[in-house]
Every structure is written in structure tokens, then in C-alpha cells.
Symmetry: D2
Subunit: 106 residues, 4 copies
């Protein structure tokens, strides 16, 4: 499994779903739900921490957080693939919008 | 703004936050909250749709969904950067775990 | 509209949905999505605040937060009604479980 | 533990938190996070179900869903208490707003 790009991850996930007959479950509606469930598992790691504590995680906690990040990226990539969305293009376009909306300080 | 990788996006976001004095707000705790808020804006697009309708979005709805995906990727990238997490590495490692947990059909 | 109990709110919501032909949309799946969307609108009010700031809201912010709480209670009540769940009974039973799981300090 | 009102639940939860020295963690910011985590656990129960399946839960699944509803009500009640919000009043006021925004069919 050699992947160092979102495209490679997308292709991997296509194969993964096909090999498990999961394609029938992967509607955008369902994948959006799965995505927010993973986002909440990330939030759960931080709910009782102070902002300062959230910056100094133990190695075990950091690994748990890293796995939640992975799950979010996995579902986001799969979701975007189902609708033909290029995530990096979308982010680039959104940053242009954001830059106009929130001008930089001089 | 030429970016075709998560690393380029990460660097762009560092600069974006610095230019707006937003670094003070970007603790992992706060960014996890911002991430789930964006995930919910994605969910909102689908809450009253049937699974079938969720696969056939109008161009306007698809563009709204694309922008929500962008926001999620932006906050996920920023979050991961704050904790030194490599998202593609994390996803690759997680897929190994998932493949063992959910064996492929033969 | 005189309601000072969850049962009265439940009845009000039944009538509200019927009068707008919304019953067709109110499956448990869809209502769970609507509920988390409202929960995220609550989270959004707090994402960039310090824990201390979150305790001292301006009157305008407090009113916005109050309305988000209302939306959450509304969808939770409607969701529970669709599945015949009594919320206060469920909470009472859950507190018994929690009390066993997390013993009080002496 | 005899409670058949949100006020009784609120009082119970105050005592519960005090007896465990949890008051220090119960800022509105943290409780909003805990609330959305519970909402996501509800969503998780439905993510791969069709809308129709979500209406016909097995007894085991229904009990799991009931417990998630309880957790949401518990955190919502605790959150509202921390900010002095009366949930039933808030819901009643919100329904007036909603009725004006979404007129009933004749």
C-alpha cells in the first residue's frame, strides 16, 4: 500500500469498499453521517481538556487522535469521490473566498 | 496560490493564520470544535434527502457541498499541523488496521 | 401554546409536523441528523471562546445559545416520539447506570 | 431517584456533579462538546440504515438508542443549567418563531 497523495488514497478506498461489498452503503447521505461520527470521536478526545492541555497530549492520546484524523480523512475522501469532488481544488477555491472575506492584517 | 498537495495546503494555512493573528485561537481543542461544525454543515445538506436524492444533487447544491468539503479539509489539515500529524501516513496506517479488522470477501 | 412538560411539547410538535406535512421527512435517521446539526450550531457559539469566556456570555450571545438549546430539545423530543421513547424515564435509568460506573467520592 | 420533570433532572445532575467533583469540568464550552459527542453516538446507530430500517429497530438497538437519547438530555439539561436557561420556556419561544417562519398549510 504505497500512497502519498489523496488520489492514491481515493483509489485505495474504492478497492477497499468493492472488496467488502460496501458500495451499496456508501451514499453521500450515509458517508456524511459516518464523517461526523468520526469528527465527534476526535472532539471526545478533547472535551474535558483545557486548551493548554490539548496542546500537550501524552503519546497514547496523540496516537488515538492520529487515528481519528485518519478516519476523518478516509471518510472525507470517500465522500468526495462519490460526488466527483476534487478536495485540493475545492480547498484552493475556498481559500480564495476566505481571503476576500477575512482580509489579512497589514 | 498553487497547491496540489496536503503539504502545500498546510503551508498556505500556516501563512493564512499568521497573517490574521489567528494562531492564538488555533489550539487543538478549538480546531476540533471548528472541524465538527463544518462536518455538521455538510450533514445539513443531506438531512431531509433520501439516500437516492443524495446521489443526484443540483449544481447549486453540489457547489455548496464542495465548499463544505473544503472547509473540513482545511480544518483537518490545520488541526493535524498543530499536533505534527501527517494525515496521509495516518490514513495509510489506519487502512492496515481496518483491513485486518474487516477482512475482504474472497 | 401552554406547555410546561415534555409531554406537552411532544404533542405540540406532532401537531406542528402534521400541519406542515413534514411527517414524511421525520424518520429517526433524518431526525438524528437534524439533531446533530443543531448541536453543532451550539458548539459553533463556543469554538473560539476560552472556557472562562464561555461562562460570561453577552445578552445577545446568550439568546442565540438559548435558541440553539431549544432546537436541540425540539428535535430530541420529536426523535424520541418517533421511537416511543420516554426521555425522562430514559434519563432516570441512565443515571442509575452512571452512578454505578462512576461512584461518588466519599 | 424520583424525577418526572426537567427541573428534578436538573437538580439530580447538580448533585451528581458535586458528589464527583466534576463541577470544575462543566463549563459551557466543555458541555457543548460533550453534548455533540452524545449526539454523534446517536447518529452512529443510524449511519448505515435505510430510512425505513431506522423505523424498525431491534429491541437491542432500540435500547442502545434510548440510552443515547438519555445522554443527550442529561448534557443538554446540565448545559442549560450552567447558563440559567429554562429549556421548556426556550422551546416554547422557539416554536412561536418557527410557526411564523414556516406557516402551516391551510
Amino acid at each position: 500500500m504505497e500512497q502519498r497523495s489523496l488520489e492514491a488514497l481515493r483509489d485505495e478506498l474504492r478497492q477497499f469498499a468493492r472488496a467488502r461489498d460496501w458500495e451499496q452503503f456508501h451514499t453521500p447521505k450515509n458517508l456524511a453521517m459516518a464523517l461526523i461520527v468520526e469528527a465527534a470521536e476526535l472532539v471526545e478526545q478533547f472535551q474535558w481538556l483545557t486548551p493548554e492541555q490539548s496542546q500537550e497530549l501524552s503519546p497514547e492520546k496523540l496516537e488515538a487522535v492520529r487515528q481519528e484524523c485518519a478516519d476523518i480523512l478516509i471518510y472525507l475522501t470517500r465522500f468526495a469521490d462519490m460526488l466527483g469532488i476534487d478536495l485540493l481544488d475545492a480547498a484552493r477555491d475556498k481559500l480564495v473566498i476566505n481571503a476576500a472575506k477575512y482580509p489579512a492584517l497589514k
